[in-house]
Amino acid sequence: MSTSGNLLFLIALLPFIGALVPGLMIRAGRNATATFTAVPTALALILLLTMAPAVLNGETIQAEIEWLPQLGLSVSFFLDGLGLLFACMILGVGLLITLYARFYLSGEDPVGQFYTYLLLFQGAMLGIVISDNILLLLVFWELTSLSSFLLIGYWKHLPEGRQGARMALAVTGAGGLAMIGGMLILGNIAGSFNLTDILQAGDAIRASEWYLPALILILLGAFTKSAQFPFHFWLPHAMAAPTPVSAYLHSATMVKAGVFLMARMWPVLSGTDAWFYIVATTGLVTMVLGALIALFKDDLKALLAFSTVSHLGLLTMLLGFGTEAAAIAAVFHIINHLTFKAALFMTAGIIDHETHTRDIKRLGGLRHVMPLTFLIGTVAALSMAGIPLFNGFLSKEMMLEEASHTYWAGSAYAVPVLATIGALLSVAYSFRFIGHVFLGPVRDDYPAKPHDPPFGLWAAPALLVILVVLIGVMPFLADGIVAAAASAVTGAELDPHLKIWHGVTPALFMSIIAVVGGAALLALHAPLDRAWIKARRPEAKAIFDGLVASIVGLAQRFTAGSHNGAISRYLAIFTVTSVVLGAIAFMGGGLSAPTRDMLPIPAVIAVGWIMLIVATISVVTMHHHRFRALVLIGIIGLTISAGFVYMSAPDLALTQISVETVTIMLLLLALHFLPKETPRESPMGLKIRDGLIAVAAGAGVGGLSFAFMQRDIPTISDFHIANSYEGGGGTNVVNVILVDFRGYDTYGEIIVLGIAGLLIYALMHALLEGPAARRLRNRDYAQDRSRDRHPLMMVVVTRVLMPIALLVGIYIFLRGHNQPGGGFVAGLVVAIALLMQYMASGFAWTQDRQRIEYHTLIGFGVIIAGLTGVGAWVFGAPFLTSSYTYVNLPPIEEFELATAMLFDLGVFLTVLGAVMLMLYSLSRIARYAGSTVNVTPMDYDPGSRVDDGSEST
């Protein structure tokens, strides 16, 4: 039976809304903050209680909004008995903690932050217990890890806080991640991530082959969160948090999330051997171990922390038994443990607050100075010990009863004996808490003068111990909620009748043994404690820290070693990867039969081949002499250009040779600043390795091209040849492709050049404004230079050559559409012409006469090309649609005008501007390096000797 209750959304949301409150209210003071922080919690609790009757009647309340339906993740909540129990605990204790913390925290602590984190945590925790979608549950689950990280690290200046927070996050985070896996598997088996659906699919899940992985992964989440052995070690270190946090998270709520989850999943996951042996055994071991360690802890909070570990083990064990009675006991003990343990933590906090110490060995006799605290603490501790008339007794009795008839691997005694030992130890440390803190004589060496705290501090624990006693005396008060919760856990209608006296049962004997034995053990505490301190035992924190440190160290070494800045190695890996994967890919396929005959090899071409090969090998072998390598590169460029001519690619030849020249200029300009020799520093092994890689890459690439050159295939370029003249208005198909069919590529390409110009210019400025400039200034580049900078002959010849070269540039530009040439080559030719002038008469002299800035050229070029493209829009055509017409202007013969030429003009300007801006930038750097500025076009004009009045300036 379920009813819809959209109030659930509000309840879930209220803590998160509340988390915003402290940030605003903190300006109004601590009291106001605490008060207003309590409001949303109280409101949520009241809303929850309005639903309680229905839930106690066996109804479930549901509400759902879709979130990520593709994943099956929805914001869906449901409230059943178990959820109600936990929600009440979370909100109720939350209220008490809010009150307690107001008085606990000092004036220097950022209270606003505290309440924000606290409410975030509360919201997350509340979310876990009312989620009806296991993915949503995961969200809240991880949120509790995160918010508890913030709370544990609240005193961020303390190293223990930071370390404790990180440890808790690492352990519970790891568990949470495992649980993600488990939940996803679970959802996949059930076909839904909705809890209500999954809870119906228990049989299918247990039958699935994925059951065990899912179980283990989910339990990892639960065990880490609930501090089960061997993940128990983070909890004591989380005690670095302020005590309200310990009381709330580490006794009442968060650590119970794991228990909650096991309870929640009980109908689905329990009932198998795997469940029993994993869960019950872990619980049992944890219970005994936690209790044992607790006995020897001197820090009050540590004692309580390990006691919590032990009790969580107890709960886990009960759930692991997998019986309905055990489930009832577990639910009941959850309530009881909450009441006494929260009260105890608060008591510890009060003692710490009043005496300024939590060290049991420095305490004792507080009964006399802090009677009220003594009363509260003693009642709670007796309940923890399982002394009758207190609620702890009841549930422990039920636990022992269940343990007494549980077989473990065929043994009837293992579980009862160990459970009794656990109970015995529990009695011992509980009595120690009472005896060593409150009893005995009053000491005169407390770090502070203790007395009972103000009402605000003792009110909350007092309320809790009242519950301890009430339930202890009148357990039937809890009947309703325990019944509802236990029914929800088991999925069966349970109607437990909680009572004080169960008659003479094995449990009673075990209980008596525990109490007597515990008291005896405490009597022997002093010698045992000495032995304990002497004993060597594994220190969980040290192991964890060592583990983390070694993983971090490994990660550091690995990262530093692998990403060590050795780009040459990265490139080697890249090349090897390409070659190997390429080869593997090839071998997975195959080749069709060759379809082309090979072309003959004329002698001159063979010579060209020899030149290319010799030059390439020489570049490699002589690369240490950088200048020589540049000369050799010149051969390669020349040969390839000639080869392009031979192989029907005149446009390529033109472009290749002019680009190569400009590139060599750039390299020469740069080499001026760089060392002229490359040191011989590669060890032979490296050379051989690189040589092998290089040969492999070369063979691969060569083989690839040899393979496809022997095979013909139809290509799309038949279209280009067919449409070049009719559609593009040009007979040079390559040019028409460049400015028309694929003009968009060309547009991109000139933008690359424009960016290159910009980049180089920007870089030049960065260099001239940075420390590099100092280095430049201090460097002497003037050694053993020839004294003639601007030789007369060069200057004179350039004066004739430059106009001719410009003319050639214009010619090449104009004919490009129909014959080899075009904007790009023309731009380079003009750049080379200007370059000639710069080389002849020097940078400064030439630059002074330069009327158009290169920046502007690039800008115009890119914009003209772009506008030509956009211009087509006016005619309703797409970007870069060209059109052309033949103009007949008598007496001139017909000529063609094409928008593509305008585009090509953009190319021309950009290329020219970019090349010149690059040269300009390099020259500026050189000038910065100390070259003086020439004011005349040539070193010395002999004509000036005779006619000084010449117009040469």
Binding site: S786, R787, D788, P791, V797, V800, V935, T936, D939
Partner: protein
């Protein structure tokens, strides 16, 4: 194509080839760098000239139009070859010879490789 044209073309080509070869042969044969300078700068200009003349005759004979753009290459080479040679010579001298290895300039200043120009102008 007339036999005369063919013959002229063939002769030009053969002459060109011979000079082209001799230029590079000199480059290899001569042992002194300055001597080598003489070989290619002379021979190759005529070598290229020969091919260019052949080309001109060829296209004239083929199409009946006088193709003059071959002349441009010749003009270009004639203009640039001296500069090239001059620069290479200076490069050799500057890097391999000392001032004293050269004869005196018999002028007011020494050779421009080693000496600064006279301070004849303000700001120079």
């Amino acid at each position: 194509m007339s036999f005369i044209a063919e013959l002229l073309i063939a002769i030009s080509l053969v002459v060109s080839g011979i000079f082209g070869f001799v230029g590079s042969y000199g480059l290899v044969k001569l042992t002194d760098s300055l001597q080598r300078l003489h070989a290619p700068t002379k021979a190759t200009t005529l070598g290229v000239g020969g091919v260019l003349i052949a080309s001109m005759i060829f296209f004239y004979a083929e199409t009946g139009y006088l193709s003059i753009h071959e002349l441009l290459i010749s003009v270009f080479l004639l203009l640039t070859a001296p500069i090239t040679a001059n620069f290479i010579a200076k490069t050799y001298i500057a890097r391999n010879l000392k001032k004293t290895d050269l004869p005196d300039s018999q002028s007011t200043c020494g050779w421009s490789i080693y000496d600064d120009p006279p301070e004849s102008r303000p700001g120079n």
